[in-house]
């Protein structure tokens, strides 16, 4: 996460350098071979570079904000104080549940907080002989009921994405 902030700062700095060069009152006429590039064109190119780096910086900032949001602990009030549960904790719980249910089938979980609720996306390879709608419903039921019961959090939705098939044995 810190990497994205550094990247954002670096891109912003480079954008500022280009913008500063473009705005400075130097004579920017360039001689390339026998042709002379006019000052206006040089300033335009510097402006484009500056805009590109500013755009990159904005993207890094958006990515960083997204990560912060995904890692934000979910809050629920308790009688003696607040209870925060990190998304990482919920992912661990979901992984344990799925590992017991799916045994050797590989899977991956993505979690997205939505206010004080959560939405989960499970990517998995279809186990041999499994019927997709039945499997998806079973996993949705398992994750929704167990996670809400064990964490007290509202599970908004569980999406199951089958991205391949797996063979055992």
């Amino acid at each position: 996460m810190t990497f994205l902030l550094w990247l954002e700062a670096l891109l912003l700095f480079v954008a500022a350098v280009f913008a500063g060069l473009g705005a400075a009152g130097f004579n920017f006429s360039l001689v390339l071979g026998s042709a002379t590039v006019p000052e206006l064109v040089v300033r335009g190119v510097l402006g484009l570079f500056s805009a590109a780096f500013l755009g990159g910086s904005s993207l890094a900032l958006v990515a960083w904000a997204g990560r912060v949001e995904r890692h934000r602990p979910l809050r629920q009030p308790g009688p003696r104080g607040l209870i925060f549960i990190t998304p990482y904790t919920v992912t661990q719980l979901a992984s344990q549940l799925l590992a017991q249910e799916l045994e050797t089938t590989p899977f991956r979980i993505r979690l997205r907080p939505q206010g004080d609720a959560l939405s989960l996306r499970v990517f998995l390879s279809l186990p041999e002989g499994a019927y997709v709608p039945e499997l998806a419903e079973r996993l949705q039921e398992l994750l929704t009921s167990e996670l809400s019961q064990r964490t007290g959090l509202k599970i908004q939705e569980v999406q199951v994405v089958v991205h391949g098939t797996s063979r055992t044995g």
């Binding site: 003696r80 104080g81 925060f84 549960i85 990482y88 904790t89 964490t151």
Partner: protein, 117 residues
């Protein structure tokens, strides 16, 4: 020498100072006694974990605690955390006579049954 930051109370026989660290340590010792609760590292909640994982705030003579913990897999988190909050509040109030406003708890991770030390 600078005194550790803490709460002061006026008693008939003299002044009582209670350092924040004392309150944090009491809280950590209570937490260490609760089955299924660990430090965020997955180890048992030791006194060494106090500074890193327990914060004590003093607001107008009232105590507010914030702690980070890990829970054992299979436990019902809200129940376990509420038990922790009750016990910490009770013990801090009993030992220091300071009112505890809240015990905020952040559950950082789950510890597998074999992992907890």
């Amino acid at each position: 020498m600078a005194r550790p930051e803490g709460l002061r109370g006026e008693e008939e026989a003299g002044r009582i100072n209670i350092a924040k660290d004392v309150i944090s340590t009491i809280a950590a010792l209570v937490v260490a006694e609760i089955p299924g609760v660990f430090a965020p590292t997955g180890d048992a909640f030791s006194q060494g974990a106090v500074r890193r994982h327990v914060d004590t705030e003093l607001l107008g003579g009232r105590v507010r605690l914030a702690m980070r913990i890990a829970v054992e897999y299979g436990r019902v988190v809200p129940e376990l955390v509420q038990e922790l909050q009750e016990k910490v509040k009770f013990e801090v109030e009993r030992m220091t006579a300071l009112p505890v406003e809240a015990v905020d708890v952040e559950v950082c991770r789950v510890v597998g049954p074999k992992e907890g030390g």
